[in-house]
Structures are given as C-alpha cells and as structure tokens.
Amino acid sequence: MARIEADDLRKVFRRPDKGPGLAGSLRHLVERRYTEKAAVDGISLRVDAGEAVAYVGPNGAGKSTTIKLLTGILVPTSGEVRVNGIVPHRHRIENARGVGVVFGQRTSLWWDLPVRDSFELLRDMHGLGAAEYRENLDRLVEMLQIGDLLDSTARRLSLGQRMRCDLAAALLHAPPIVYLDEPTIGLDIEVKDRLRTFLRQVVAGGTTLVLTTHDLGDIEDVCSRLVIIDQGRIVHDGGLRQVIETYARERVMHADLASRPVSLSGVAARLPGATVTEERDGLGVAVAFDPLAHTAAAVLSALQQEAEVVDLRIEEPAIEDVVRRMYAGQLDAAPGERTGT
C-alpha cells in the first residue's frame, strides 16, 4: 500500500524582484515586479509502507520544500498529494496524527519549557493514554539516551542533545510515517552514529521514513531507496545499493605514521588496484581502495607491514561526489532502476 502518493507536485515561490539597495526597494514600491521560481517542479513519488527513502540533492534543490508539501505545511501550486490516504494541507490535524516531522534547523520543543513539559503537551495534543505514553517515552528515552535531559529547558540543550529530544518528540505518538529534514546537520561523529543506529531501529520497526541529508553516512545503512532531486525535479529514483556500488565504491584510508620513510610501492604491491599516495611530507599515507576488493583491515595490515601506523581515518565519498559522478555522463543505471530526467 502506498503511504505517500505525490503526483506532479509543483510549488512556485514568487519573489519580489528588487534592485540593489534602498533605491531598489523604493522602486519596488512603485513598480512591482516579481520573479517566479519553481522550487518543486513536477515531482511524482510513491512511497510504500515500511520503505526508507533517502531524499538527496544539492543545496536549493527543493528537498525541504518537498517535505513541507508532503506534511501539509505548504499548499502546492499544482499537483496532488495524499498521505495515509488524506490530503495533508486540507486535513492538517488528521494528517498530524499519522506523521512525525523533524526539521534539523528548527526545534519543535517549547523553548523555555523543560523537555518533559513539551513532551506532555504533545501527549495531550495527540490524546495519548498514560500507559501508551509511558511505554513510548521509556523506549525513546532509552534508545536516544535522553533521560538526563528531560528536566532542562530546550534553550539550554546543546545541538546534539536538542536533536535527540526533537526526534523523541516527533516519535512520541509512534507515527507510521516519519520525515526527517537534515537530522544530523551540525552534529559530531559520535552523536551522528548514535542517531544512525536509532534510525535503523526505527526503520526495522516498520516505520516509513523519508530522510534528507547531505551526508552519505546517514543513509547507507538506513535507507534502501535513493531519490535524487535537482532544481525541483527528480533525476534518479532507485535502489541505494547499486548507486553506492557504482559511484561511491572508493574509500580512502588516511594513516599517520610514526616515522618516514615508507615504501609506497611496497604498500601498493600488497594491495592490487589501490592507489597509494604520500601525505604530510611523508609522515602520512593515503590509500584509495575498493572495499569489495580489500577490506579496511587488509589495507591497515598492508600499511603496518611497511611502517608504524599511529592514527588513521577512513573517508567515505560525499553524496555530492556521487551525484556529480552520476552526472558526468555515466548515468548507466543498473537494470530495474527507474531513472528519469
């Protein structure tokens, strides 16, 4: 069953066309001119129950606008949208009962209230019974480790703490659909990891998820479907694995060494197919490798045979790289993929 159905959705923003400075603003008062911009330009999308969709694209592509259309926050300029069988912007309250939303840049918690009070207000708005609320809250508190945060006001929370509380707020009523718009923006690696683990659990529990992000790490283990949007249009819609395997295979391991010299050719000989380069004046090595050909452990052990490794980090390709590579004329999608322009 399709949980989310969008048909040829369009959203046009009209922006005042002002010249620069005060003079421009004054002229606009007399002679009103506008430019129209289609932030979302004919998007059709079906998401089935239990699917986890990664919704990615460059800045300004229209991701957030799409989410706002799907959640009923914005009224589409044209096109149709149905979520859980209802039109979200016509039945906002009914829609809100069945979805959870997190906007990474904005909190839905009451700023000056203890987090617990925000949760209780949401409990009452959703009409949750005491037992149901307790159970959901306990589960979320444990998974997100926010037990210590419940008594501080949202104002006092750090970004990572606030984001975890916001996720809990969005999931309190156990909605069948969850939209997350850049839930990991600005978070450090440790918090990101915790959130990703949490998202995996949510998806495993059968929740339908739509997730926008600029970070490939967010979606790799969470989502099974990848939708790429650019300039308001869907340019790719298909399985996530194939895309990552085709365009984002390469990992780069950066290793810091205790001393030089290291024999680059020696390392390269142990790792056929990998590219080995020197870094930090010989005190570091970068190995670009295909994880299907060599495991990270194998790369590390090859390095250790040639030098003493004191530190290392593995760099994953960014979504932007993936998108750029797909654009670079190599859009030879795997069979069974839906690809459009």
Partner: protein
C-alpha cells in the same frame, strides 16, 4: 470544543510557567500598563473638570467605557496575546512546527504567549469598572444585571477577534513587524470615549468596518440606556461572534498563502 478549551488552557499554562522564568519583565510590563491606563484616566478627569457632560455622558459613564477598554485589553493580552506573534512567526517560518501538531493552528498561535502586563490592565480596569458601576445613575433591575453580564462578557471577544483579523495581515505583508495591526489597535483606542464625539467616518469605521466600539461603547450604551440607540449594544454577542469568525476566516485564508521560509 471541550478538548480544544482544555488544550488551550494547557498551552497557556505552559506558557505561564515559561514566562515566570523572566520575572523582571513581568513587573516592568505590569507597571507600564498601569501607568499608561492611569494617565488616560487622569486625562479624562481633567476634561470633566472643565465640562461636566459630553454628549449627555457624565464622568462616571465615560469611566465605565474607559474601564471596559482596559478590561478587554487585559483579557486579550492575558489570554490571547499570541495573536501579536503572528508577524514574526509567519516571517520566520515558525508555523512549520505548529502545522504538524494535531491541535488547531490558530489556537496554538493564540496561546503561544501570555502577556503578564494584562494583569496591570485588569487591576486598573477592574477598579475603575467597579467604581463606575457604583457611581453611574442606573437602577440595577435583574434584567439590567443580566444584560450587563452578557454584553460585558462578550466585549473582550470582540477585541480578540479583531486582533486576530488585523494580525493576519502578516500573511500578506510578510514583514516581521506588527506595525499595521498596531495602527488598528491604536485606532481601537478611540473606543475609550463616547462615539458621538467623532465624525461620521470614524463612527462608521469603529462600529461597522472594524467594530472596536463593541468592546466598550456599545455594551455601555445598552447597560446605561444612553446614546441614540441603546439597543445596538445588545448586538455585542453577535459582533463578538462575527469578529471571531472573521479572524478565523482570515487565518485560514492566510495559511493557504503561508510560504514558510527558505532553509
């Protein structure tokens, strides 16, 4: 309806807790409200020292009208101050979170702030109101008491409805300032005095276009049986319902234009 009222109270209560975090503001605002209203009263008193009657209205009659404005303002500020947050909320995209909660967006906005300075207005307005009721020349028959209870109770709803209506201009103006609705609020202050002292245009505006006069002058005419058409004051409940419905209509129209904000 009952659920809505209950949730409204819950939201306001939460807001009260949050506001009490800023205790200093509370005192400053309350004193400011007392001073503003108090100065208006002194002004009235000074006028009536010079002329004993204005259009057949004696001092305490006018004090009653005046106190009703302070009272309605107090109630509106205390219970529905959120209307004045609309400009900022709309401009900064703050409605996004409101619109994905299962509770009437308008009621969420209205209950999103509690103006403690409303207490200052209520205290001063209440004292003047009681003093005026004691001094006006009226015989308090049961019918008159019932009429008074009804029209005075509906008066604040007129102001709240008009606050919603004028603040909804934010959806069209899209600026983060409430100057436009504030201009109308100031216009509404004209309803502190008997309508008869104004020209036809002002009278029309205050009684028909934006019927601010129904928060003070008309209810007072009905209770005191003064003015050219005291029966008009009995329409206060109708005016209240009309203003609230207009406000709700404007808010709903506004929501279809709401554009959130980039990012």
């Amino acid at each position: 309806m009952r659920r809505n009222l209950w949730l409204y109270r819950r939201c306001l209560g939460a807001q009260l807790r949050a506001t009490l975090e800023y205790e200093g503001d509370f005192w400053i605002m309350s004193v400011a409200a007392l001073l503003t209203q108090g100065m208006g009263f002194v002004f009235l008193w000074a006028i009536f020292r010079a002329i004993p009657q204005i259009n057949g209205w004696r001092f305490w009659d006018v004090v009653l009208i005046y106190s009703l404005v302070a009272l309605t303002e107090g109630v509106a500020v205390l219970l529905a101050q959120g209307a004045w947050t609309m400009a900022v909320t709309v401009n900064l995209g703050g409605l996004d979170t409101v619109l994905v909660r299962p509770f009437s967006p308008l009621l969420q906005v209205l209950s999103s702030q509690i103006g403690m300075n409303g207490l200052g207005n209520l205290v001063l307005g209440g004292s003047l109101f009681v003093a005026a009721l004691v001094h006006v020349h009226a015989t308090w028959t049961p019918v008159r008491i019932a009429t008074a209870a009804l029209v005075f109770a509906c008066a604040p709803l007129v102001k709240i409805g008009l606050n919603i209506l004028t603040n909804c201009s934010a959806f069209w103006l899209k600026t983060p300032w409430s100057m436009f609705p504030f201009a109308f609020h100031t216009l509404g202050e004209l309803a502190r005095y008997p309508l008869g002292i104004y020209g036809l245009a002002v009278r029309l505006v205050l009684s028909v276009v934006l019927p601010y006069a129904f928060m003070s002058y008309f209810p007072a005419t009905a209770v005191l049986s003064l003015g050219s058409a005291p029966w008009l004051g009995l329409l206060t409940p109708v005016a209240a319902a009309w203003c609230l419905l207009l406000g709700r209509w404007a808010f709903r129209r506004g929501l279809t234009r709401y554009e959130s904000s980039g990012s």
